[in-house]
């Protein structure tokens, strides 16, 4: 029987069990791709970073500490890879011109008017990266502030502050739309 718990699967994965990796991958990869797409706002780059993230997961699995949340650990790797890519992109501005617009890449949001979704995504993109990460992880991936703190390598209170500031800014940006409560 297959273990369902992430830690048990990680133990098997650390011993080279491919089946355990496949289950973990199927469980986390789609959410990681959605997070990266929202973070870097470039579909092609997000897809490359998904590969970078899971190569890191394989190479660094000896660094994973049982008892920490695997989801937060994988998101932390994705966030680090995304920030590094954005930093290198800023250093080489010609890469920005090749970016695939995020509107085409953004994961679909169910049961919401497409026009509203587009406006919310555009507002999200106007947030500073650190606030955007906190809001996306909290609102769209439903991570706890403890998990967000792990992902971003900050304290829980700093994670709350970043998300709070992001929600405040979003409220201002979305005020004309009257989208409703954001947090």
């Amino acid at each position: 029987m297959q273990p369902s718990n992430d830690d048990a699967l990680m133990e098997q994965f650390c011993r080279g069990d491919e089946d355990a990796f496949e289950i973990l991958y199927a469980r986390h990869a789609p959410a990681v791709l959605a997070f990266l797409t929202r973070m870097v706002r470039d579909a092609a780059l997000a897809e490359d970073l998904l590969q970078v993230t899971f190569l890191s997961v394989v190479r660094a699995r000896g660094r994973y500490q049982l008892g920490t949340t695997l989801r937060a650990w994988v998101f932390a790797i994705a966030g680090n890879a995304g920030r590094d890519a954005l930093r290198r992109q800023r250093a080489r501005p010609e890469d920005l011109s090749r970016a695939v617009p995020v509107a085409a890449a953004a994961p679909p949001t169910e049961t919401v008017d497409p026009g509203t979704t587009r406006v919310v995504q555009e507002a999200l993109m106007q947030l500073p990266l650190e606030q955007r990460e906190a809001v996306v992880l909290h609102k769209m991936h439903e991570l706890s502030f403890e998990e967000i703190a792990t992902v971003l390598g900050i304290t829980v209170s700093a994670a709350k502050v970043r998300a709070h500031r992001g929600y405040q800014r979003l409220r201002v940006l979305l005020a004309p739309l009257d989208v409703g409560e954001m947090s």
Binding site: F13, C14, R15, G16, E18, F21, E22, Y25, A29, P30, L33, A43, A46, E47, L50, Q51, V52, T53, F54, L55, S56, V57, V58, R59, A60, R61, G62, R63, Y64, Q65, W73, A76, I77, A78, N80, A81, D84, A105, P107, T150, G153
Partner: protein, 207 residues
């Protein structure tokens, strides 16, 4: 027609599986940290042994400077752990604090020192030269996780202890010389570690 996102997920899965087949068994970070610490301490001990064999230092120097030599090895151990520990913040803070304290004691404890006919820059050059191998090991260790300035700083300070170990045994000049040519060279190795590691692409982006 296939969904590009699904294609990307499948491609990433295939690449990760291929990597898993290349290295089926995970290497614990503690083992990697042990390699780093062993390399740094071995370079220090080798440099110290060469100094004694070359009669640049005697048993009395070893006894008199023993506590500082042990402190330098301790900085190397803590810096080595900081370079690879998933909980780098705590270890890095300890390594930086210990290194700064050790630097201050190195300078203050030397006093007036003894005059020397050797040009002062020889100490700086030796310090940096002996730090090259530890620096290479430090850069390797920093590629095993996502770059953070705190981790890079602690690792650079750990790598610089080998030169400081040599300087503490082989040189007998005063506090001002130690500050400029020993501590200065130690900081130069640290700065090189931070600057070079920042430019390297990490092998993994794990915390």
């Amino acid at each position: 027609m296939t969904d590009p996102a699904n294609d990307a997920v499948a491609r990433a899965r295939a690449a990760a599986l291929a990597e898993l087949r290349r290295t089926p068994v995970a290497t614990p970070w503690r083992r990697q940290a042990a390699v780093v610490v062993t390399a740094w301490v071995a370079v220090s001990v080798a440099a110290g042994t060469a100094t004694v064999l070359a009669a640049l230092a005697g048993a009395s120097d070893l006894v008199a400077r023993g506590p500082l030599l042990v402190a330098l090895l301790a900085v190397a151990v803590v810096g080595g752990i900081a370079s690879l520990s998933p909980r780098a913040r705590l270890w890095a803070t300890a390594a930086v604090g210990a290194a700064l304290l050790t630097m201050a004691v190195l300078v203050v404890s030397r006093g007036a020192g003894a005059p020397s006919s050797t040009p002062e820059w020889v100490c700086s050059l030796s310090h940096v030269g002996i730090g090259l191998l530890p620096l290479a090991v430090a850069l390797w260790s920093l590629r095993q996780s996502a770059w953070t300035w705190r981790r890079a700083l602690a690792t650079g300070l750990g790598a610089g202890t080998a030169g400081a170990f040599l300087g503490e045994l082989a040189c007998h000049q005063g506090s001002r010389h130690v500050l400029v040519h020993h501590v200065g060279a130690w900081l130069l190795v640290t700065l090189a570690c931070v600057a070079i590691s920042r430019r390297l692409r990490p092998r993994t982006f794990a915390p």
